[in-house]
Symmetry: C2
Subunit: 336 residues, 2 copies
Amino acid sequence: MTQLHNREIHLTSRPDGMPVPENFALVETTLTPEDSDIVVQNLYMSVDPAMRPALSNGQTPLGKAMTGGAIGKVIRSASADYPVGAYVIHRCGFREYHVSDGSDLSLITPEDEAITTHLHILGGTGLTAYGGLLVIGELKDKENVFVSAAAGAVGSVACQIAKIHDCRVAGSCGSDEKVTYLKDELGIDYAFNYKSTSIARELHIGLPDGIDVYFENVGGAHLDAACGQMRPLGRIPVCGMISAYNNKGARSEGVTTLANMIYNRVTMRGFVVYEFNHLRSQFLSDMRQWMREGRMKYQETVMEGIENAPAALIGLLHGENTGKMLVRLAEGSAAV
Amino acid sequence: MTQLHNREIHLTSRPDGMPVPENFALVETTLTPEDSDIVVQNLYMSVDPAMRPALSNGQTPLGKAMTGGAIGKVIRSASADYPVGAYVIHRCGFREYHVSDGSDLSLITPEDEAITTHLHILGGTGLTAYGGLLVIGELKDKENVFVSAAAGAVGSVACQIAKIHDCRVAGSCGSDEKVTYLKDELGIDYAFNYKSTSIARELHIGLPDGIDVYFENVGGAHLDAACGQMRPLGRIPVCGMISAYNNKGARSEGVTTLANMIYNRVTMRGFVVYEFNHLRSQFLSDMRQWMREGRMKYQETVMEGIENAPAALIGLLHGENTGKMLVRLAEGSAAV
């Protein structure tokens, strides 16, 4: 193998508001790996809400392959650590092939789960929900929990962890189909479509005693409604604010109810997943057990082909996914 | 002594927005203490921003004497714990005399300080700043600190504690005179009159490296500006949100910058002073030492007579005080 035909996605202009297909380009390249390189064929890549702010600030350069979580298979290697056929996870998605010296790869050793789960429920997405709820949110059994974007990749894990802790769980989402999914598939206590109702009123109905933990994924009107209903010593782990990400400076709708934090001694804390790296083995052990017991489910929305990666990201920001939004990059490499 | 002529302040109607004198009444009563009662002549009483929300919700009943911190002198007592002549602090201000069974009194034993300091710098006001900054704010030496309502009773203590910890301190206030006071008397690094400038721009100038701790007294536009400039792992102890207290449901102006809490892993926490009761002796020891060293100053704005207690509270909400707003209730009982 001396040359490799590769396709990758570049950001070509910074979106003003919601990204559009014209902000991206599919670029064909020819890769010429060195003998010492490890060549990874990417099988699946992830799109995440957190990618949106990075499109507007300098984090995502223009005219280069974008980055994001991906799982691939080693197809050429002189490394004993990453032999041919091994599955690896890395941050160089948005391209069909990744040429690496090994320093940015991590081996995946699936047990009886589909390999794609390592891009969501068993990966950073799941760990975000696990650490956000249990560490930052200091969740206790039987508390009252509200999760926004509850049918999303992080939210759906947070809902199920809260149910495993015997909590009363209410979730918001953006369609009636997702309401059905949350209630019937994930078994949460109360779910509503925030687009067709008053969030504050729904929370009064769904969690009439108030909220102990609000797992915050949306910001703006959601936080405005939830913060006003926090109970004494309530916690608001702030995972994301997707409602703000398309706005200049990631400004959300105004939140007016923060004075309730004083009287009720509420804590709100922003966090990022790398805070929980030390918990990863406990997390994997807990999650695999819950999956075996049927208490931790997931759903994937999978788009096909690198050319659809921008559409997957845009669709995610429009809320078109239930559960994890993925892009399958290699034909015939179905999850093992 | 069988009867005692007393004057007290009642709330007669709930304010809609800023309280007005017509919401209050001066009521004359005749007290007939039992032989076992302790009779306290109130000398000074305190008005606090936190009283405002209590006027709107059920906490302050209509047609009864209002409550609030006060210092008095025991003028009749059969109690060895509270002998005649003793100074006591209690929550039954807004009246000239307080008749007690002793259960709601605490003795004050001043050292070389004015007794009024126990209503502010050495009392709950000072402890609020001390615990809010050191415990909730987890202040470290040499950090960048922003204090809103910096010339107020709590804010001015917070500013000085931060200076004692070698921090760079910026403060906001509502008049040019207070700016001068903050810079020249309290020695903070940067001060501005928020009414005549852009808070966000002033913070960029005053704390160009960003904010490690924002001691929050105001809410709304102040929080909107400060939250956007929080540094990684910044803390926002939420002491009060005076800008919101006159609004229905204590709703503030909208805060739009909360997404910065995610990227910078910021913690915001509401608190109330009773969380710090266990620190009271350390607090008194520290504060008295700092006062002796000339590093902890205070200013009082004193109005005269029970009939002016409503005006003192209204004036406080208009920001007419520098430092602690007090009402002197007894002629000739000057601070010892």
